[in-house]
Amino acid sequence: MSYVLIIGAKSDIAKEIARTYAKNGYNLYLCARSSSDLSELKTDIEVRSAVNVQILDFDITAYDTHKSFYEQLSEKPLGVIIVSGYMTEQKIAQKNWGECLNTINVNYTGAVSILNIISNDFEKERRGFIVGISSVAGDRGRKANYIYGSAKAAFSSYLSGLRNRLFKSGVSVLTVKPGFVATKMTQKLHLPERLTAEPIDVAEDIYKAQQAGKNILYTKSIWFLIMLIIKNIPEFIFKKLSI
């Protein structure tokens, strides 16, 4: 069975995505900055699903390593899922340039770097799928979160253009926009229960949407409506709001 490459496999969402694809028979390349962090997950998936799991070192901001990383994969993957993300508090990001730049680079620049390489290959082979985990935060910049949000907005735009380009090659591109998800990243926040998804539900939504060849996925789906409203508030009102 084909391989799926998961970039940023250490997160709670990635863990469930990996389990979901394995459950459906896919072999996995799991990547993180330090692949030894993934050895428990590798064992877990191998016991659960009897598929092959390879864990690999990969730093999304080490752009000059990306080409050789992809070239050394013995079997090229059928699909790639970018889960890497970095979010720090807005207050920190707007004061500390290092944090700000890292937010932009992990969420956007690094993803572009690796996806440029992979999409060229998929286009040539005329097959494959690409999934990018963006965020509802990219749908409109808000004072509470606009540095992270703008990096995700750029990523969403990139995926949109990539989808447009690869359509005629039969390569599908799915943009995922999760709302609140109960993860390590959000453990300290008090999230409203009805709007908050569990990682396992996000993973299953992604699998279904990707298999069905969908373009954009909001998860939970209620976020489509919420963001529709937020996007349509006129700027002269929006600038006075605190949401």
């Binding site: 459950k23 064992t43 016991v47």
Partner: protein, 430 residues
């Protein structure tokens, strides 16, 4: 926030901390005065509820599988459903499974759950060869079957420590199908006779119409089954029907329950009939309806489950069923089963005899009725199942569990009494 169990009663404000790692747990145990472990929230009452809750479901890695002997080692937050999704297609099934697959391994051990094959295979602890647990002082101990800590922890309601991982043995199956035989009886005497004469079936359980009165008191559908020898192993959980909100609490009343029970009973053929059914529909019929607990309305519900020694079962059940049908507070799901021998665990529920489980929505007058039923249970030397309970008195509880003092002493000796507590353990002073 408010985490509650399956009965949606009681609901109190509580603080939840997720179990993610052993080192995190060590710090949590050291700094937290009192808490209780919480799995997937499928116990019915207040046995996993307290102001501080350790949420264990995220601690769910599979660790090792021995293909030859069918022994799985996994972390305590793994759900039984995850085991089925991985292993049925490879020809393995749980040796003991309760009527829902949506519980964690830790919960299965803490409640020492049982299933439709209790008369043959016993409780869940029988398929556990060892487990790891973190104690009140932060030490991790590997516990072998038969040791004192094992006897206290299996059925010990999470009151001895935090179960971290376990080795459980699975059983080989050749098919995902069950050969089911349904026996329709018309009164309690026939029901008892049917249980006795079909004892050799691996699985048996009866649905009983608890609103039936007089000559029909105790009429039931007895479902018996064994795994088929051939057939595919293509097991996938189906998509679920969901109850999206709480029903208004008047939706379940004497009339609607009577109508349901009538339809359910009438639909089965008279006498003995045979069917071939899937694992999910035989073992886990209610799991296919997500949030089915909401049909009881926002005030929640409770399940009253007791067991009586075999020699007293007939008379005791007659008394209790009469009392329930007179009260008119019936439930859809009244489940009767003949159990096998009891084990040596301090607080495991099963003893040899008949157990009845009934759901009741929480309403005025209910707890008074249940207190009345308690008196009958006590009179016939029976006991109440802690995993389902939310209201039993200390006195009734103690009379049913002769090993309780042993358990209390064990907790005291190992400094567990202060650290691990639920609302239930405080109520009945375990």
């Amino acid at each position: 926030m408010s985490l509650f169990s399956w009965g949606m009663y009681p609901k109190i404000q509580n603080n939840k901390t997720s179990l993610k790692s052993v080192s995190g747990l060590y710090e949590y145990i050291k700094k937290t005065k009192e808490f209780i472990s919480f799995g997937n929230g499928r116990s019915y009452g207040d046995s996993a509820i307290n102001e501080k809750i350790l949420y264990c479901k995220d601690y769910n890695n599979f660790l090792e599988f021995d293909e030859v002997n069918g022994i799985l080692r996994c972390q305590a937050g793994v759900l039984l459903s995850e085991i089925l999704e991985s292993f049925v297609q490879r020809g393995w099934f749980l040796k003991v499974s309760p009527g829902t697959k949506l519980i964690t391994i830790g919960g299965a051990i803490a409640s020492d759950v049982h299933g439709k094959n209790h008369h043959i295979e016993g409780c869940f602890s029988k398929c556990v060869s060892e487990f790891k647990i973190m104690l009140a002082n932060g030490d991790i101990e590997t516990v072998k079957a038969g040791s004192e800590l094992f006897l206290a922890t299996c059925g010990g309601m999470g009151l001895t420590g935090v179960i971290l991982e376990a080795c459980i043995s699975l059983k080989k199956i050749n098919s995902q199908f069950i050969k089911q035989t349904t026996v329709k009886t018309t009164n309690l005497k026939e029901t008892f006779e049917a249980f006795e004469s079909f004892k050799e079936f691996q699985y048996s359980v009866a649905w009983i119409d608890c609103l039936a009165q007089g000559a029909n008191l105790g009429k039931c559908l007895l479902m018996l089954g064994d795994f088929d020898d051939d057939g595919d192993l293509d097991y996938k959980s189906k998509s679920k029907l969901n109850i999206p909100f709480n029903f208004p609490s008047f939706a379940l009343n004497n009339l609607s329950v009577k109508a349901f029970n009538w339809l359910y009973y009438a639909k089965a053929a008279n006498g003995i009939s045979k069917q071939r059914v899937s694992i999910d529909s035989f073992f886990y019929p209610l799991d296919s309806i997500k949030n089915w607990n909401r049909i009881y309305g926002k005030n929640g519900f409770t399940q009253y489950q007791f067991i009586l020694p075999k020699e007293n079962s007939f008379e005791g059940l007659q008394n209790i069923l009469t009392k329930i049908s007179q009260s008119g507070k019936g439930s859809f799901l009244a489940v009767l089963k003949l159990y096998g021998k009891e084990n040596k665990n301090f607080l495991s529920f099963p003893i040899e005899g008949y157990s009845l489980a009934l759901d009741f929505k929480i309403e005025n007058g209910l707890f008074e009725l249940l207190d009345e039923l308690d008196k009958i249970v006590v009179k016939y030397n029976g006991r109440i199942y802690l995993t389902k309970d939310v209201r039993v008195s200390k006195e009734t509880f103690e009379l049913g569990y002769p090993n309780i003092q042993k358990f209390r002493d064990f907790r005291e000796k190992n400094n567990m009494s202060e650290k691990f507590n639920s609302l239930q353990s405080k109520r009945v002073e375990i």
